[in-house]
Symmetry: C2
Subunit: 87 residues, 2 copies
């Protein structure tokens, strides 16, 4: 299953969330991740995310598609290199 | 055509971009929009966005799907009410 995950997390919790999402998905922009993931791994990710999040302030949106080929991705402007954020 | 648009824009240009994207799409989270749009309208939106953006600093990612039903959307945590941001 291919997913796009977008989070809106208060700044003090962002670093933890970023680190968590990177374990499961590929970071593509600011608070946006994508990748192939199994249902079991996604449940694990959501569980761990819920431990970081404060429900009244933070949110995560997950778009799922059975197949990545159903989606075209286009990047306009500066394409950030994930490597620059890993260091 | 159904699209998800996510932008990563420097703060001083965010208000303009938000206003622009709202004319074409539905705001769903922080810097994330979705909606049905025609190819012509999307070209118009991209053109106008490029006038706001600084290529070396800003970026916009557009995911397109021929049909919204190919994507499931799930919101975890606080679902922001778009109305609260319109005012």
């Amino acid at each position: 299953m291919y997913i796009i995950l977008v989070y809106d997390i208060k700044e003090k919790r962002v670093a933890k969330m970023l680190k968590l999402c990177r374990k499961y998905l590929t970071w593509i922009q600011n608070s946006v991740f994508e990748g192939e993931i199994t249902e079991a791994k996604l449940m694990e990710l959501k569980y761990k995310a819920s431990k970081i999040m404060v429900d009244t302030e933070d949110s995560v949106i997950i778009f799922r598609s059975r197949d990545e080929k159903w989606l075209d991705k286009e990047i306009v402007g500066h394409e950030r290199n994930p490597v620059e954020q890993i260091i």
